[in-house]
Assembly symmetry: C2
Homo-oligomer: 299 residues x 2
């Protein structure tokens, strides 16, 4: 079943210890789509400037990504620049030019309003609410956010939490949102708001799922080199939501496997700059890595 | 089969956000013995001062721990004081008085020299070599160390690595010892020195094993509260080595299960001060937690 994603579309300028790229297409909506479309059709809502070169994302169309909701406004595309430290867990933001993204209003095209799987990528919580207000009968709402909104738009964000079925956060965000150091206590506080499932991304330490009173853990795939961590979280979310939408049901096993598929796709994504590694990725490679994940945790 | 452990025996004074204890028995050899003896007989070599109150560790004797190698010297027992921060991953050392431990020479009693499983707890590398020189035909040598020896006694420590079958380190130590950020690269460098298996402890992020070109991951047991992290690494090692010695064979499955047993015992240990939580621990509880670990990683 098809997925609706609403998020940012950007030109990223990224430096890592292994090289750099300038004005490479990025943003949460594109990373998510590149990953999720490996599993299920994806409908994108986002905005770009008149400088955006659509040929750079032509592979998405071939993979069943519907770009009817990609609005082109006069002005420049959102630009972000960042430099990663040697350990790749830390980065400095060098610049952020919101450009046309500053006035983005998520207008959902009529033909998307019956979407069942909704991924609210990391954008302002009031925009996330606007998205939900336009969808007729979502089956599953999955939320991503970041510390900027947790500290700046706490109340609105809490409303989005209440209307979400699954939240995907990193461990710092979980602790900041709940003001609780213990992840177990923090998780229970989030469940009380509404979400039935919580996914916590821990970077090189893997990811965990809490659903129906049970934990599930997946390690990060051990890589010799992480070339560019940009988009790791969104490509994880893409594999995660993509697999759930493909299965079309929400069970414990589906969610657990979805975490492993998300980890598999994210592990490929970080092996090259931008989402280059996702362009030629296929289900065979993903399935191989999925099996490797299983071997890494079985006794 | 019985295990020989050589390590420190201390009186610890510990403050955590949940309380404090003063002059509580501790040290790597005692934490290890309290954990390993749940699986296999343990022979201890260490030193205490004339102030040491042996009645505090009488439970060890009941559990098959042989204390013939516990030397009592005139003077005070090694004392360590530490205060843990709110997040429990960081601690300040408040004091370290080596006392009788300063001149410790590990004399292995004759009846221990045929020990097959040797755990070299975190002591000076030259003492670790002295231990190995006295053992007739060890079957498995397991090494623990710390950043203090990595930076201060690099060459001697490398000799111990060469004579060890398994090394147990935390992720920081692995990176410091190899001067490599990538754990995968670091692991390969350590294998080249000799150890066939490497166990990396990652605290709240669990533990991983690398053996026969394969990774195995176990999460940390999710706890609402960690009361006192002191001895987590040594009790992990105790469960790990204890299980291997009990099985009496070194296979992929044994090592993987050993990591899970180590994690189970360590998760109990941190739920109370000192090794109090290990005193009444039994195999039934350990087995329950082991099964919970399995459920947390299966799809």
């Amino acid at each position: 079943m098809s997925i609706l994603v609403v998020g940012s579309i950007a030109y990223d300028t990224v430096e890592t210890p292994y090289g750099s790229v300038q004005d490479s297409p990025g943003g949460s909506a594109l990373y998510f789509s590149a990953a999720a479309s490996l599993f299920s059709p994806v409908n994108v809502v986002g905005v770009v400037g008149s400088d955006f070169n659509a040929s750079k994302i032509s592979f998405l169309k071939k993979r069943g990504v519907n770009l009817d909701g990609l609005y082109v406004e006069s002005g420049d595309t959102f630009r972000w620049g960042g430099r990663y430290h040697k350990d790749l867990n830390q980065r400095d933001t060098l610049f952020t030019y919101l450009n046309v993204f500053e006035d983005f209003q998520p207008i959902i095209p009529e033909q998307y309003k019956d979407s069942k799987y909704i991924f609210l990528a990391n954008i302002a919580p009031d925009l996330q609410l606007q998205v939900l207000d336009q969808i007729h009968k979502p089956k599953l709402v999955i939320l991503d956010t970041m510390n900027f909104w947790i500290s700046g738009k706490r109340d609105t964000l809490e409303e989005v939490f209440k209307r979400s079925d699954i939240v995907i956060l990193n461990d710092e965000e979980v602790r900041e949102f709940t003001n609780e150091y213990s992840l177990l206590t923090a998780i229970n506080l989030i469940h009380k708001l509404g979400p039935k499932a919580i996914v916590i991304k821990k970077g090189e330490h893997g990811a965990l799922l809490h659903y129906e009173d049970q934990f599930f853990f997946t390690p990060a795939y051990p890589l010799d080199r992480v070339i560019d961590p940009t988009g790791a979280g969104d490509s994880f979310a893409g594999g995660f939501v993509g697999y759930i939408a493909k299965e079309g049901k929400i069970t414990k096993t589906t969610l657990r496997k979805a975490v492993m598929y998300g980890s598999s796709v994210a592990s490929y994504n970080v092996q090259d700059f931008s989402f280059n590694a996702l362009i030629d990725l296929d289900m065979k490679k993903i399935q191989n890595r999925f099996e490797e994940f299983k071997l890494m945790t079985q006794v």
